[in-house]
């Protein structure tokens, strides 16, 4: 990998490019915040950042450190509370939702609750938080993950947040709102989507210097491949400049 940028910077740029202008995105702590801030400075000045504890439409000038901190409603349009935001999502106003987790399966289900048995946990993780709600009610979710066989696995230890659950029709059968679900998985190896018919994860494009075989090898389940696998452009000089000088001047995420 080129030393022009760090793995985190690559993830931030890829996630930023997924966001469209003039729509709403549910933002969590960490990389999604930087991606949304970068998108606002690049191609999506009218991206509406929504934070679960009440901030809507902030101008992300200073990097928030917590999903409820003052920066999540910096010069924002509305400061309300969690039920208002969650209900806004439940009635269909939030387009994108960003998610993360310790494990993901082929249907985009995520685990952020426990490694091992929930009744005898090997590692107790932070839990759902708003993750399950984002995965339930946003129109399209984007998971940001580090890509390896321990994280991309056949069977999760615990389904914290719904992806396509067990496959086609399963979300609707469970009672989740129709036409919702996982849209993209952005990783240090590439960008993945989901097959329309089987709802299984499919490799769409690879990152600079990565081959499709590398992605397959680092995935613990059978990965579908798009007919034509693209190559994601490396972070541009402009993206990196904005990221380093404006979005994250203290270098909190430059690792």
């Amino acid at each position: 990998m080129s030393e022009r940028y760090s793995p985190s910077e690559l993830l931030i740029c890829l996630s930023s490019r997924v966001m469209e202008d003039g729509t709403t995105a549910f933002i969590g702590t960490g990389i999604p915040m930087l991606a949304a801030s970068l998108a606002q400075s690049m191609h999506a000045p009218n991206l509406v950042a929504v934070f679960e504890f009440g901030g809507t439409g902030a101008i992300l000038e200073k990097l928030p450190l917590a999903v409820g901190d003052m920066r999540t409603y910096n010069k924002s349009l509305h400061a309300s509370g969690i039920t208002d935001i969650m209900e806004t999502s439940q009635r269909g106003f939030i387009e994108y939702g960003f998610l993360g987790g310790a494990q993901i399966d082929a249907y985009g289900n995520l685990n952020s609750t426990v490694i091992g048995d929930i009744l005898k946990p090997k590692v107790r993780l932070p839990g759902s938080g708003g993750g399950n709600d984002v995965g339930s009610c946003c129109w399209r979710t984007i998971a940001i993950m580090r890509h390896d066989k321990r994280r991309f696995i056949e069977k999760l230890d615990f389904i914290t947040t719904p992806g396509f659950l067990t496959g086609p029709g399963a979300r609707e059968e469970a009672g989740l709102p129709r036409n919702t679900g996982p849209y993209r998985v952005v990783t240090n190896l590439g960008v993945l989507g989901f097959d329309e018919e089987t709802r299984r994860m499919k490799l769409l494009s690879v990152n600079p210097g990565v081959k499709a075989d590398d992605v397959v090898e680092n995935t613990g389940f059978e990965l579908l491949l798009a007919d034509e696998i693209g190559e994601n452009p490396a972070p541009t000089d402009e993206e990196l400049k904005i990221l380093r000088e404006k979005v994250d001047p203290d270098g909190l995420y430059r690792k």
């Binding site: 409820g68 969690i82 399950n132």
Partner: protein, 332 residues
């Protein structure tokens, strides 16, 4: 109540029993007896903890992470020695303090983590060792809708979250087919706290409260408490409250105790007053990684201090001034 002939069939049930049973008529009767008089409710943290918290109570803290934290009350609660709490799992530092001291028996868990700083080592030790007897899973929306249901005085709210996952399997929610649409709905049970703790920007001596910035879940939770203890950065005159009653998010009749506690959210932030103390918080994050480190932290910053004033003096005016926001409230 007579058994109804027709009832909506339950199509799925979470496997965890309710940690706090639902008793809405009991809650109504409790609320009827609460004083509606404008009385002076100011007292110290210790007095409030002594009067309104018992061993084994179901308690909860608003807000979350390092934002608007009722930490002067939490420290007093830790020092009181009261224990065996059942807790609603929002409020991160507050829970870590109680968990590290072994005071928590059961948790309705949503998220306990350090956000950009990762997993909470305190939670890992407390849950992985089995020290917490019972952990029930919820999403953030679900736990706040539980408060909202209680605030509405009804036993549950239907929702389209948690469905189809292990989160609902390990919760106490139930799933029905909607009697109107036929679609599956999660029923989120009401949650009434024995005692709730909320930190606000301003309150009068009767407990009318103003909050700057996002309200988090203060509105819902304040209405879902039998006892509600408020700490406030500033105590203001009731005349000020009357000038802008639209700013009262928590009216006095919900409140049992009012504590004047400037910088109570430290090392967390307080909207329009002060920012998070990043240096101290990073130190806390490091110290909590080992049980010894966390014990030392608790001794130095909680157990060895008699009250909140002692903490303020220990942190020091210079440090607090450096965190105070321009145009905000200045430390004296």
């Amino acid at each position: 109540m007579a058994q109804k002939k027709k009832s909506v069939p339950i199509v799925y049930e979470g496997e965890s029993p309710l940690i706090q049973p639902i008793d809405l008529d009991g809650f109504r009767e409790w609320n009827r007896k609460k004083t509606k008089k404008l009385v002076d409710k100011r007292m110290t943290e210790d007095e409030a903890v002594d009067r309104f918290v018992n061993d084994g109570d179901y308690i909860g803290f608003e807000l979350y992470g390092t934002v608007r934290c009722p930490l002067s009350l939490t420290r007093a609660l830790v020092r009181s020695g009261k224990t065996n709490f059942r807790i609603a799992g929002q409020g991160v530092t507050e829970l870590e303090m109680l968990l590290s001291m072994g005071r928590v028996k059961e948790i309705d868990f949503t998220y306990i983590g350090l956000e950009v700083y990762g997993v909470s080592s305190v939670v890992r030790r407390a849950v992985e060792s089995g020290a917490v007897e019972n952990v029930v899973e919820w999403s953030n929306a679900a736990i706040t809708w539980r408060f909202k249901a209680a605030a509405m005085g009804i036993p549950f709210l239907p929702a389209r979250s948690m469905l189809g996952t292990d989160t609902i399997r390990r919760s106490s929610a139930k799933v029905i087919e909607c009697p109107f649409t036929g679609e599956k709905l999660a029923l989120i049970p009401a949650l009434v706290l024995d005692t709730g703790f909320i930190h606000v920007n301003r309150a009068d001596k009767h407990g009318n409260c103003q909050i700057d910035g996002i309200s988090g879940f203060a509105i819902e939770m304040s209405r879902a408490c039998r006892n509600l203890i408020i700490s406030a950065e500033e105590i203001i005159d009731t005349d000020e409250i009357r000038k802008s009653p639209d700013r009262t998010l928590i009216p006095y009749y919900l409140v049992d105790a009012v504590i004047h506690a400037p910088y109570a959210s430290w090392p967390g932030e307080m909207a329009s007053y002060y920012e998070r103390d990043e240096k101290h918080y990073k130190m806390y994050v490091e110290q909590q990684k080992t049980p010894e480190g966390m014990a030392e932290y608790m001794k130095e910053w909680v157990l060895d201090l008699p009250d909140h004033q002692a903490l303020i003096e220990k942190v020091g005016a210079e440090r607090l001034k450096s965190l105070t926001m321009k145009g905000g409230f200045y430390y004296e």
